[in-house]
């Protein structure tokens, strides 16, 4: 029953309001940008195509399915024809369908030295309709023209289609070979990349941008979780000491075991607040980005980079991230508990918590950076080892502090 009371002390209204307000602000400042920039900020425009592919072919794209996928081009061209034929800029230039546009474009590119000013202006106007950023050399100087319009959906689909097609047909293999050739990888890394290349797992359908946004979002979310854990659990023991309730606790039947119960309450609370924050903010990410479409897709995909150490699905990838965040959360709670035990008041506690929080932030950023990715300096085994050591050390120190308390004079 004392455990429930300790939990009640931790989950007090004031602290929860602070965490709630802080989380809201943090979402606006840090988390929301990751959501807003996906898929709209993905320069390959492959996100929508990836959704189309999973909806039609499942988690992987086999060769026969790819042949079928190519038929999508006709639909996209039809959409583009409709857009062009109803757009005055195009029709005014005598462009009535996408074929006309391609002819105009090829002609424009082929006349690099003999372009007229009129054709240049027309090219700029058309690029503006496509929502593009254009860099053109005029009188020897490079000038940027930034479109004031949003790219039409048919056009982004067209670009996405072309990118995805190229990636499936040859780019993924070129990229992986180039990666092996030009990156100073160790033996284990090279072996793993070759395994990925030859195993067929690259047929998985998953936009690399989604993976990128996922671990970046997870990095930010981990910081919030660690911060919330420190705010939630660290005052518990310090406040008891500061107001001298510990004299009553230690002289009661529970005695010094109260610290054990408080440690249990701290760990349970850390897991609780982590679960709440993950459900809330991972849920927002999940709903907003359409990540649910790719839960069964492998993370090593012909559409993604870098390559990953584990052959897991995107869903499993997210669970592993959640696992790391839970471990960070519990380790932070254990450290906060120890700091709380050895602080006389909230001021000294804050001075101790700040550097610990900073260290936890750096650790979180490092652990989740390009999560599971194979890149130079990104040794996943070292990261896993470090996390295990830090987790075990934090829990070990906390348990030592609890055990040591049995023989400590309470002066």
């Amino acid at each position: 029953m004392a455990l429930i009371h300790e939990l009640k002390k931790i989950w007090n209204v004031k602290t929860l309001i602070i965490i709630f307000v802080l989380s809201g602000l943090y979402f606006i400042i840090a988390l929301n940008s990751s959501i807003q920039s996906y898929p709209s900020g993905t320069w390959l425009f492959d996100a929508d195509i990836a959704v189309y592919l999973t909806e039609n072919y499942g988690a992987t794209l086999e060769q026969d399915e790819f042949e079928d996928f190519l038929k999508l081009k006709e639909v996209i061209i039809f959409e583009l024809d409709s857009f062009i034929s109803s757009n005055a800029v195009f029709t005014g230039a005598g462009i009535y369908d996408f074929q006309d546009y391609e002819n105009f474009r090829d002609d424009f590119h082929s006349r690099y030295d003999t372009r007229s000013e009129a054709s240049m202006n027309l090219w700029i106007a058309i690029s503006n309709e496509w929502g593009e950023i254009l860099r053109i050399q005029i009188d020897g100087e490079w000038v940027d023209f930034v479109s004031d319009k949003e790219a039409p959906a048919a056009y982004t689909r067209y670009i996405g289609f072309n990118n995805v097609t190229a990636m499936y047909e040859y780019q993924w293999e070129e990229n992986i070979n180039s990666f092996i050739l030009h990156t100073p990888l160790g033996k284990t890394e090279t072996k793993r990349v070759l395994e990925i290349r030859d195993s067929g797992e690259m047929s998985a359908i998953l936009s690399g941008h989604l993976v990128l946004h996922t671990w970046q979002y997870a990095q930010n979310l981990a910081l919030l979780v660690v911060l919330a854990v420190f705010i939630l659990v660290s005052p518990l023991v310090t406040i008891d000491k500061a107001v001298k309730v510990n004299l009553l606790q230690y002289s009661s039947m529970t005695g010094r075991k109260i610290l054990k119960k408080q440690f249990a309450a701290v760990i349970i609370s850390a897991i609780g607040i982590t679960t709440l924050l993950l459900l809330c903010f991972a849920g927002i990410f999940y709903m907003a980005t359409g990540a649910r479409d790719f839960l069964m897709s492998g993370i090593n995909s012909f559409m993604s980079f870098p390559y990953h150490w584990l052959s897991v699905t995107y869903g499993q990838y997210c669970l592993l991230i959640a696992g790391v965040i839970y471990l960070l959360s519990v380790a932070s709670a254990a450290i906060a508990f120890v700091l709380s035990r050895f602080s006389q008041n909230l001021i000294t506690l804050i001075f101790k918590v700040i550097p610990s929080f900073a260290a936890a932030v750096l650790l979180s950023l490092w652990l989740l950076d390009e999560f599971l990715g194979i890149y130079v300096g990104g040794d996943v085994f070292f990261k896993a080892f470090s996390l295990s050591i830090i987790f075990a050390a934090a829990i070990g120190i906390a348990i030592f502090a609890v055990k040591r308390e049995k023989k400590t004079d309470l002066i």
Partner: protein, 284 residues
């Protein structure tokens, strides 16, 4: 029976208490000594907050440290600086401490209501304690100490900071609680214990100095305490005890080893005289 056998407590090279032998059977035991004499050290050892560096403390023949929770289950403790959560109501706080004392929920609710009634806080049991007076807080303190119906009630300076009215109220409360249990009361305020203590324990130079009934302690000064309105007539050495005004004159109470019966009025010593006499070297 609670027994201390040759108990010593040292902090590094500093000896807080040395070679203390005591027995507590029943009634109110007053630990009377100036601040820093070792009262709180003894109380903290009795409540297992600190451990003796020598000797042993036994409850019915068993060492209290070894008895662990079984011993702590029979003590009630009101510390000198009674700690509480300002945002808790007395009711919530007592329920919290009931849980810490391993009292089941139903008993805790019943005892909480009873004790709040006993200490006169029923009408404010749901209010936050941050606006309570010192006396009200001390009453919450005594209520929490009584939650487990303790066989040993240990009160460390329970009346410190209370106004006279609250002190009298508190004294009466302690007196009413002292039946069928050991009450160990630490204080440096003589009037707190004069009427309620069955034995007075005094420490001097970190050792046990006296352990006797109040009357016996007072008797030890019999024939040595006088009053006069002309202290200049008293031959040195003497120890000035207290002063009072009477009919426009300043009456000086003093203690002397010499017979001053011819030049001053001999009076019956009280516990305050004993306190001032015993701790005369520690006065400014």
């Amino acid at each position: 029976m609670l027994m201390l056998n040759n108990v010593t407590k040292k902090y590094g090279s500093f000896t807080a208490l040395e070679d203390i032998n005591l027995e507590f059977k029943g009634g109110v035991y007053a630990l009377l000594a100036p601040n820093g004499a070792g009262k709180t050290t003894l109380i903290k050892m009795l409540t297992t907050l600190i451990f003796p560096t020598g000797g042993e403390i036994l409850w019915n023949g068993d060492e209290i440290v070894r008895l662990d929770a079984a011993y702590r289950g029979i003590i009630g403790y009101l510390p000198q600086d009674f700690g509480y959560y300002k945002n808790h109501s007395p009711r919530d706080f007592l329920l919290y401490l009931s849980a810490v004392k391993c009292i089941d929920r139903n008993t805790a609710k019943r005892k909480t209501e009873q004790l709040l009634e006993l200490v006169g806080l029923s009408d404010v049991q749901g209010k936050k304690m941050k606006k309570f007076s010192g006396g009200m807080i001390q009453r919450v303190g005594i209520a929490q100490a009584m939650l487990n119906d303790p066989k040993i009630l240990i009160l460390d300076e329970p009346t410190a900071g209370l106004d006279p009215k609250e002190r009298v109220r508190f004294r009466n409360l302690i007196s009413s609680l002292s039946k069928d249990r050991i009450v160990i009361l630490s204080t440096h305020i003589v009037s707190d214990i004069e009427t309620i203590a069955s034995r007075v324990i005094m420490f001097k130079d970190h050792k046990l100095f006296a352990n006797d009934e109040p009357a016996a302690l007072c008797a030890s000064l019999a024939g040595k305490v006088y009053e006069t309105d002309d202290i200049t007539a008293i031959p040195a050495p003497y120890l000035a005890l207290t002063e009072r005004q009477d009919g426009g004159k300043t009456i000086m109470r003093f203690a002397s080893e010499q017979d001053c019966g011819s030049i001053a009025q001999s009076v019956s010593p009280n516990l305050e005289d004993v306190f001032l006499y015993v701790y005369r070297d520690e006065r400014e």
